[in-house]
């Protein structure tokens, strides 16, 4: 399977007005989105996950500085001029499924008006009404549902509308930012299934979520898994292998905190991302897990990678 979007060394800093301090939202994040596969990016809330999606689409506010590369084919999203982003990338090649679907829809306009408008702008020549109904069907909505206003849609239906909106431009890459937040369990599973179908349709999907439990429940939901902590990817690799044999203490602790893992809370608290010192962030929180090699280095082996594995651990 070819890589749709190759992200390497993505670093995001926010300048804060006071005392020139900076928020280390993301540091040296690298991953590939391959067509037909879903990469699940998990981590506790506030670890900088959502910033990635906005960074890739260059939707961050003025005080953000983004470095690194994000190659969509030969186009580097982080360096491309604004009008290229606007005219060719957003919605057309890389689409975003926004976090809370309810607030992502303009409240005073019906879902159909917004869907048909997006089709009309992104797919000139297509029949807006027809394509909108087809998209609705694809995401499991009745055409009639589209004629409602956002506040008249249930959480699940709103979620599906925003997925339809993301698919309107037939994008190569779909970034889903916490698509299951706030939904009850059956709706979570159904949303993950929907994203699975999107990937099976040949698109590359990035699934940003904190709901590790859902991934365990539906192993088919994600092909690859990346674990993020304090703005850094601590472990990446095939989902099934990482979940079965996590290589990094943090992944183990995360799994341990789940009901299936015995509800052992992760000790300490996630660090503040403001003026985060370099070096291994997690082991500062877990000194008892034994000294790590301190290096902020990524060790790869095959298609798995971990950052700063504990000292003396097995070969990578």
């Amino acid at each position: 399977m070819s890589t749709a979007l190759a992200v390497s060394g993505l670093t995001v800093r926010f300048e804060l007005p006071r005392r020139g301090s900076r928020v280390h939202a993301a540091t040296d994040v690298s991953f590939d989105l391959r067509r037909g596969r879903v990469l699940a990016l998990v981590g506790e809330s506030g670890c900088g996950k959502s910033v990635l999606a906005s960074a890739l689409l260059r939707l961050l506010p003025g005080n953000a500085t983004v470095t690194g590369r994000a190659l969509l084919g030969e186009l580097d999203l982080l360096a491309a001029p604004g009008r290229v982003l606007r005219g060719e990338v957003r919605g057309r090649r890389v689409a975003l499924v926004p976090q809370s679907a309810a607030t992502a829809l303009t409240p005073v306009r019906t879902a159909r008006a917004q869907l048909e408008e997006t089709v009309r702008e992104l797919v000139p020549g297509a029949d807006p009404r027809g394509r909108a109904d087809e998209l609705a069907h694809r995401v499991g909505l009745q055409p009639g549902d589209l004629d409602r206003y956002p506040h008249q849609l249930s959480g699940g239906m709103a979620q599906r509308v925003v997925v339809a909106l993301a698919l309107a431009g037939d994008p190569e890459v779909v970034l889903a930012d916490e698509p299951t937040a706030g939904l009850d369990r059956p709706l979570v599973d159904r949303t993950l299934g929907l994203l699975r179908e999107v990937a099976d349709g040949g698109r590359a999907v990035l699934l940003i979520t904190h709901d590790l439990g859902a991934l365990l429940r539906t192993p088919a939901a994600a092909d690859d898994l990346a674990v993020m902590y304090a703005g850094r990817l601590l472990e990446t690799g095939p989902a099934r292998e990482v979940l079965a044999a996590p290589a990094h203490d943090y992944t183990r602790d995360l799994l341990g905190a789940l009901p299936s893992g015995g509800l052992v809370p992760v000790p300490g608290a996630p660090p503040s991302l403001t003026d985060l010192p370099d070096g291994c962030a997690y082991h500062r929180r877990r000194p008892d897990a034994g000294p790590c090699d301190g290096g902020d280095v990524v060790h790869r082996s095959g298609d798995r990678a971990t950052r700063c594995r504990p000292a003396g651990a097995g070969p990578c």
Partner: protein, 543 residues
């Protein structure tokens, strides 16, 4: 607004404004009709004064200026004191031996504009309506001397007076209304005549809406139909607005304060017309107050005031200094010797001799009393405000402090006996009696006699009273001249007020091929009913 809000794109916004304009335009009531264009036989005037109710009983046309009504007599044009010429009367009535019974023979070829006939019953009805308490007519006081008025035969009316009154013909200028309209007694304010007048006059009110009145020539007027076919009078209260619109050529004429009118002097196609008047401005000096009642202060103030400067810079030269209420235009009734020289030093000497010692702040004091008094003026009249300020400034120069206070009519009235007031006068200037009697006679100092403006200073001078009564009752012209000269001599000897100036009423007229304008002596209250247009019925079109 449609259910789903479509934001107003620029294109739609422009449409929105256009619609509002159109909607506005087509709601404009009144006939679209063809553009009136510059119709030659038509005059459009701008008046400063409110369109008053056109009802003689309510005081309209008391000095014969009405376009819609005719009086028994009317003013004859020409410089100086106008003569009275017969109008609805065959000739100017003469009194009988004791000047208490006046018989008026009426014309028999006159009809009202609504076709009804004109006769003695209309004259009697009008005067009785004025005197009838039920009409609550504001001018009832001016006709107090009329005991009775009754019709005699087909064409005569006899007035019976309470006392001999030589100047009675002046009272016959009053417009005559049809008896049918005055049949039911009731407040003049609510009479139909106010807005739908019926008169015998040269013009008929064709339309009155809001600020505009339109008069049309009365084709069968007994004195011949006027050549001016239509007169439009628009009420534009604000002096500046009138001047702007006159400058923009919107009007054929208007009345303006002297300085504003001056700006039209060198504008081609426009003429600035001044009409002499007996309209004076003066400062009353209440006898009751220790400062204004003191004869020395009164004489000093009369010398302190620089009347020439006021006429030159406030009136723009449009007027004459006034020393007594009798202007030069009154001919031999005027006493050229009765004057006050502008002499601040003499004023200061008078005050020093009278014991008014200048205090630390320059204001004089006598026995603990400061030489200070309040001068009231009507705020909306800029001319009175400027004269009041100039008077206060001149008085301060000789050590008398004058505190100005803008007071409105309701509050003005009760304070007249106490505080000085910047007053106007000369309501009926066509006989020395009507010009002087109410202003100076001490009968009005008694409670309940006449209004507050009758003898505002509450001045009592037996010699003046005697002279005024002699002037009123005597029929011998020489006796009257001697009497009124005595009044002026006494006025200068012991002035009850500081007379400032007689105003020249100023109008601006667009040259439009009309001839027949004549000067006339104008009363205190004026407007475009006076000015060059007072004898509009006699204008001739020379094209």
């Amino acid at each position: 607004m449609p259910r789903s809000v479509r934001a107003p794109s620029a294109r739609r916004a422009a449409a929105l404004v256009a619609v509002a304009l159109l909607a506005g335009a087509c709601t404009a009531p009144g006939s679209g009709g063809e553009e009136a264009g510059e119709d030659a036989r038509r005059l459009v005037l701008a008046d400063a004064y409110e369109p008053e109710p056109l009802n003689p009983v309510a005081g309209h046309g008391e000095t014969g200026y009405s376009k819609v009504y005719d009086g028994l007599v009317r003013l004859a044009g020409g410089p100086g004191m106008p003569e009275l010429e017969p109008a609805l009367a065959e000739e100017v009535p003469q009194p009988d031996a004791d000047a208490r019974t006046w018989t008026v023979l009426l014309r028999d070829d006159v009809t009202f504009s609504d076709g009804t006939s004109f006769g003695p019953e209309d004259v009697v009805a009008t005067y009785r309506a004025v005197l009838d308490p039920a009409s609550a007519s504001p001018i009832a006081g001016n006709f107090a001397m009329v005991e009775s008025v009754r019709p005699v035969g087909e064409r005569t009316v006899v007035f019976r007076l309470a006392y001999p009154y030589a100047a009675f013909p002046v009272k016959l200028l009053l417009g005559i209304a049809p008896s049918e309209a005055l049949a039911t007694p009731g407040p003049a304010e609510e009479s139909e005549l106010n807005t739908r007048p019926v008169g015998t006059g040269p013009f008929v009110l064709a339309e009155r809406r809001g600020d505009r009145s339109v008069y049309r020539a009365n084709p069968d007027h007994w004195d011949g139909a006027p050549e001016v076919e239509e007169l439009v009078v628009e009420h534009v209260p604000d002096d500046n607005t009138r001047a702007q619109r006159m400058a923009a050529g919107e009007f054929d004429g208007t009345t303006l304060p002297p300085l504003l009118a001056g700006t039209f002097a060198d504008r081609e196609g426009m003429t600035v017309v001044g009409h002499e008047s007996a309209d004076y401005r003066s400062v009353s000096l209440p006898a009751g107050s220790p400062v204004t009642g003191d004869p020395a202060v009164r004489r000093a103030l009369n010398h302190a005031v620089d009347r020439d400067a006021m006429v030159r810079s406030i009136l723009g030269g449009r007027g004459e200094p006034a020393f007594t209420p009798v202007p030069e235009v009154f001919g031999e009734h005027h006493d050229p010797g009765a004057v006050f020289a502008h002499d601040p030093d003499r004023a200061r000497r008078l005050l020093d001799e009278d014991g008014w010692v200048p205090g630390p702040d320059g204001v004089r004091v006598r026995e603990g009393v400061r030489a200070e008094f309040t001068l009231m003026y009507f705020p909306e009249e800029t001319l009175r405000r400027d004269l009041a300020q100039a008077f206060a400034s001149d008085a301060l120069a000789v050590g008398v402090e004058v505190d100005l206070e803008a007071v409105d009519r309701p509050q003005f009235r009760p304070r007249i006996p106490v505080d000085a007031g910047l007053l106007g006068g000369g309501d009926v200037p066509y006989d020395p009696d009507t010009q002087l009697y109410n202003g100076l006679h001490s009968v009005y100092t008694r409670e309940g006699v006449g209004g507050p403006f009758d003898n505002p200073s509450d001045h009592v001078d037996p010699a003046v009273d005697a002279a005024l009564d002699a002037g009123r009752r005597s029929l011998d012209p020489q006796e009257r001249v001697a009497a009124y000269r005595t009044v002026q001599q006494r006025f200068v000897a012991d002035p009850p007020a500081v007379m400032l100036a007689f105003l020249e009423h100023v109008y601006v007229m667009r040259d439009a091929g009309w001839a027949g304008q004549e000067p006339v002596l104008e009363p205190h209250s004026h407007g475009v009913s006076w000015g060059p247009w007072w004898n509009l019925r006699e204008w001739r079109w020379e094209g």
